[in-house]
Symmetry: C2
Subunit: 271 residues, 2 copies
DNA sequence: TAATATTGTGTGCCAATTACACAATGTACT
DNA sequence: AGTACATTGTGTAATTGGCACACAATATTA
């Protein structure tokens, strides 16, 4: 009972803070009630696939950056706006992947909060607090170094987390992340995943480790290089990376024209 | 100007009718505003892939069967309910595939209706008529003979249409159908498409024509049979179909246990 | 009984995937 | 300087899978 009160209370705080943050950054917007967007933002750094998460002051646990949809913007535009508010980036590779609408998706596992209880609270968007909010999931692929995590003044923190070492997540956001990973895994053949996650210059072993991380399996180094190079979407540069006491690998960059042509011919960089 | 008035007027009629229909079939429900579900229902009959469409009295053009989400049901449950209201079927194979949220998705192409005009009309769900409604797209695969199209009293008609010969569609519903076809095309390898679209007993040429229709290309008959049979998901029955002046093809049925096992091993019936 | 259209099965070629081996390179240590 | 070592770069053979193609079996009709 006491526990439930606490959780409801943190809900109220979060909703109020989110409204305030939205208001400050966007001015007055007429948000669609009971509908939101959550972004799973992937980055890749030091051979680790990472997601950008935020936490709230006064609330334990992390969650995906998200926001609401204004009546005057498409959901695509809303997703880009939300992403920009959080990372400062524009023109990001962003894809819708699933809409989450389970009744209990905002309940933390194990907690038995009854919906429609007397604690119901109608917030500024006309949603009933405690009502289920349906959330449209987008995933973004961004170059790690370009993103500047922007914690607003209501965030406790905003940080990158390793996919293989996630913190405790609020709501159903762990499920959302898992579904996003699964999506980029199956789309690796057909979408420019490597191009969007890696920096402009990279080595073949770096590209391979990205593939291995996403696919969660090892790939034979020799076969990988043979196949990737045969696709003709990479340009070998006259530079090498110094990697300590070993042979220096060549740096490559994506030939974006050829990459797009290969994708449109559905000859993507698959494995 | 006059044309715009007419279109707005048909909108009003449709919304009112939809509310009424929902009310009659469901009793009072607290629908989530500005959010809907549309179902692309696929059936297969006489070597043709078909979709179930409905039309409204007093409105030209056809659209996908759809409905609203109640605050007390998950979107999955809502999709099943809507499908059941339209076809009478339960336990249908149903998959979410995309959420459509363009600002102008309810506008017919070529019409320049300004949003937020003075004609705005607030309907029973708190939506502004003329506001964009976001719609979650589901596709269903059902056995043609089991579905009984159920036009309610506000429908002009409810009928199956060949994929290759669609009527004029309202809103963005042609785009929704195309995206659904594209989805089952790419998921043919990983989802039990044949199992859900075909009747219990079928011949290999019938199965092949289904694949050819969905993939929109021809497949070599001998290679198709070899590959499909090698998957081990079919059981050959001791029966043959009479097809006139030709050799009688064997009837087959799906071995559902082996089918599911093959899917989970991602060795689906691909091409 | 022959003609015809359709089903059922087999064979060989080519491309792609996979398994596996060895040479080249950059640094550190002796 | 020379050797040890880990890593990169390239090659080759075996296997698998997709694709093109040929022929026998079957059911009806003329």
């Amino acid at each position: 009972m006491c526990k439930n009160h606490t959780i409801i209370f943190t809900f109220v705080i979060m909703v109020q803070k989110m409204d305030m943050a939205d208001f400050i950054s966007n001015g007055f917007k007429q948000f669609i009630p009971q509908l939101s967007i959550d972004c799973t933002i992937f980055g890749y750094h030091e051979n680790q696939l990472k997601v950008l998460l935020r936490s709230w002051k006064g609330v334990d646990g992390w969650c995906l950056p998200g926001g609401y949809i204004d009546r005057s913007e498409s959901i695509e535009e809303a997703a880009h706006r939300i992403l920009n508010e959080r990372t400062g980036l524009t023109n990001v590779f962003l894809q819708q992947y699933y809409t989450f609408g389970d009744l209990r998706r905002l309940m933390n596992p194990g907690n038995e909060i009854l919906l429609k209880s007397s604690w119901l609270y109608k917030d500024a968007r006309g949603s009933w607090l405690g009502d289920r909010t349906i959330s449209i999931g987008y995933y973004a692929l961004i170059e790690f170094s370009k993103a500047v995590p922007k914690p607003d003044e209501f965030s406790k923190d905003c940080a990158w987390w390793d996919i293989q070492n996630l913190p405790v997540l609020l709501f159903d956001h762990e499920q959302m992340i898992n579904k996003a990973i699964n999506t980029i895994r199956t789309q690796l053949k057909y979408q420019p995943v490597g191009l969007n996650l890696l920096p402009n210059k990279f080595t073949l072993p770096e590209l391979q480790k990205l593939y291995e991380t996403i696919l969660d399996r090892t790939i034979d180094r020799r076969n990988f290089q043979k196949k990737i190079l045969s696709l003709g979407v990479l340009k070998r540069l006259d530079q090498r990376r110094k990697i300590g006491a070993h042979r220096s690998p060549s740096l490559f960059t994506f030939d974006k024209v050829k990459y797009k042509r290969a994708l449109s011919e559905s000859k993507g960089p698959g494995f």
